[in-house]
């Protein structure tokens, strides 16, 4: 059970490496609350689905057609970096965690959702590791104000173009 791992333990178990200057012997904190890794935000899905009645359309939800992938010990990349960029990788004990990109998000920021029965970790070479307690979470990207009138290719059908922050 991956409950009290240090960054050194995690990199050894997963084969994923992080940059040399990061602290490796400190235990990675595990939380069930909102936490950030670089430009990504991990949010418990319940906090994003509180709207009732007229505001239900603003809730984030998992699509009926969503396809879940089991997260292997070697991890799933939830966001590949751009040219020369590093990926954010989700890892967990085999069978404990699953990931889907089929998320309906009115803010158009969701990368996907994870649902885990054991502790899961998000790893990034520059940011180290973030421990995620059992539960269901949405991972959102970060946006900034833009003057773009051109639609984002990520959601070309969208009414408002979204400019994503690049880590």
């Amino acid at each position: 059970m991956l409950t009290t791992l240090t960054l050194a333990d995690l990199t050894a178990r997963t084969g994923l490496d992080v940059l040399g200057h990061l602290e490796r012997e400190v235990t990675i904190p595990v939380t069930g609350g909102i936490q950030a890794q670089g430009d990504l935000l991990i949010i418990p899905i319940a906090l994003l689905a509180t709207g009732t009645r007229a505001w239900v359309w603003r809730n984030v939800s998992i699509a009926d057609t969503a396809r879940w992938h089991q997260v292997p010990g070697t991890g799933i990349e939830v966001l590949r970096g751009g040219t020369g960029g590093n990926p954010h990788t989700l890892v967990a004990d085999p069978g404990a965690c699953r990931w889907t990109t089929g998320v309906h998000d009115p803010e158009q920021l969701a990368l996907g959702a994870l649902s885990t029965t054991g502790v899961a970790y998000l790893i990034h070479p520059e940011h180290g590791g973030s421990g995620i307690a059992p539960g269901t979470y949405v991972i959102r990207r970060q946006r900034e104000r833009s003057g773009a009138t051109r639609r984002s290719s990520y959601f070309p059908h969208a009414a408002n173009p979204v400019q994503y922050v690049v880590d």
């Binding site: 950030a36 949010i43 699509a63 057609t65 969208a158």
Partner: protein, 438 residues
């Protein structure tokens, strides 16, 4: 990515031999697999930097002139769209103004300039093909995947296996992807660079459709030609055989040349670029690319004409060669400003730009760091002034220093925590509960 087009889409592992075409009742996974392969082929054609196949292009253009009821033109080739427009300007009498009301007043077809007739041929072909597609692509009410929006979040293979209809997937992974890359990310910056280059040199002559000068996009027309062609070959329905024949002529042009300008008795054609530098869109599952090069023009022609683009943002040359705080403050376009600040470095900009601090407070989940909300220097821009949120990285750089950078935020947020929350689509109250930032 440079030189002859190469599409690094590793989503699919292909069988060593792909079928040439598939019937309508083929397995959806096979159809999508072929559609993705064909999309990549058309993408390569759209980004090709090989010298134009001049005889092929001329033959196809002659065929189109014939369909428009005009006799074959003389051809003139130019090294770039800019050189081509110079040739058009020199032969101005071959490009008579187009009376935009001519279609409504019932002016006889043969009296319209040939450029207008060709444009009309293209429009009506696409309309007939769309009508054929529309009849075939009836989405039964309540069927999963009737909304193409969700397809963007899946890789093509996963989308099929999730039960999304292959008709919805092909619209996204071929049509919207090709348009996003070739029309929006490549042709648009090129058109803007061309307009600017003309603007400096022009005598006020109307080198526009109203002035009779219509540019056809050659290889960049692969964005629509590739979509219709892929649908046909991957089993998404057929077209009338006359329409197929016409589509094949446009396709021959898309595979052989750059932009071209048809006139009366003369057709000016531009060579393809000699270099195209592009990168995949972060997080994209459908093979979209955008132009990017940090040490020179992202798209360049043999005569030196080209466009500078950084991560998809067209930028003036000074952004690449020498961004300064003063140049950035004077720049009205927020995208260009952001690219230039990233080139200069946020630390230098924060230190030297003299932005006015609105408010600052501790950064939730990031002990020892502050959020700073600043008024954006107004420059000469239009629109409501925005603000910049200066944030500090949660993890240190190799030297131990923690990097600071700015994020553009709306100007109507007064509280730094609300501004930070806005960047993630959250309320300030929720964001304030952030447990940890790395």
């Amino acid at each position: 990515m440079r030189g002859p087009g190469h599409c690094p889409d590793a989503t699919f592992q292909f069988a060593s031999s792909l079928p040439e075409r598939l019937p309508r009742d083929a397995d959806p996974v096979e159809k999508i697999r072929l559609a993705v392969a064909l999309r990549n082929e058309w993408l390569a054609a759209g980004l090709s930097t090989a010298p134009a196949d001049r005889s092929g292009a001329e033959a196809a253009a002659c065929r189109l002139y014939d369909m428009a009821g005009a006799s074959p033109p003389a051809f003139e080739w130019a090294a770039s769209p800019l050189a081509a427009l110079a040739a058009v300007q020199a032969a101005r009498s071959c490009y008579p103004a187009i009376e935009t009301r001519c279609l409504l007043t019932g002016q006889p077809w043969r009296e319209m300039p040939v450029a207008a007739r060709l444009a009309s041929l293209e429009t009506s072909l696409r309309s007939r093909l769309d009508t054929r597609i529309g009849r075939a692509a009836v989405a039964w009410p309540g069927s999963p995947g009737a909304d193409t929006g969700i397809v963007w979040m899946y890789r093509p293979e996963d989308a099929v296996l999730s039960g999304i209809s292959d008709r919805s997937i092909v619209v996204v992974t071929v049509g919207q992807s090709l348009r996003g890359t070739l029309t929006d990310a490549v042709a648009a910056p090129l058109r803007a660079a061309l307009a600017e280059a003309i603007g400096k040199a022009a005598s006020g002559d109307q080198l526009t459709p109203a002035g009779g000068v219509i540019a056809f996009r050659g290889q960049h027309d692969a964005s629509w030609i590739g979509y219709y062609d892929t649908r046909r070959r991957a089993g998404f329905g057929g077209y009338a055989s006359a329409d197929l024949g016409e589509l094949d002529v446009w396709a021959a042009l898309a595979r052989s040349a750059g932009w071209w300008w048809p006139g009366e008795g003369l057709c000016v054609m531009a060579e393809r670029p000699v270099a195209v530098h592009a990168e995949p869109l972060t997080g994209s599952h459908h093979g979209e690319l955008r132009l990017h090069r940090a040490d020179g023009p992202a798209i360049a022609f043999a005569d030196g004409f080209g466009a500078s683009v950084l991560h998809g943002t067209p930028v003036p040359e000074w952004v690449l060669s020498g961004p300064t705080v003063d140049l950035i403050r004077a720049e009205p376009n927020i995208e260009v400003r952001r690219s230039a600040i990233e080139r200069l470095g946020w630390e230098a900009y924060i230190r030297d730009a003299g932005m006015r601090l609105v408010a600052s407070c501790p950064d939730p989940g990031n002990p020892g760091a502050e959020l700073g909300l600043y008024d954006d220097t107004p420059g000469t821009g239009r629109g409501a002034p925005g603000r910049v949120l200066v944030v500090t990285n949660g993890t240190p750089e190799p030297g131990g220093h923690r990097r600071r950078y700015g994020i553009n935020v709306p100007g109507n947020l007064d509280n730094p925590v609300d501004a930070a929350a806005w960047t993630y689509g959250l309320s300030g109250e929720l964001y304030a509960t952030l447990a940890r930032r790395t």
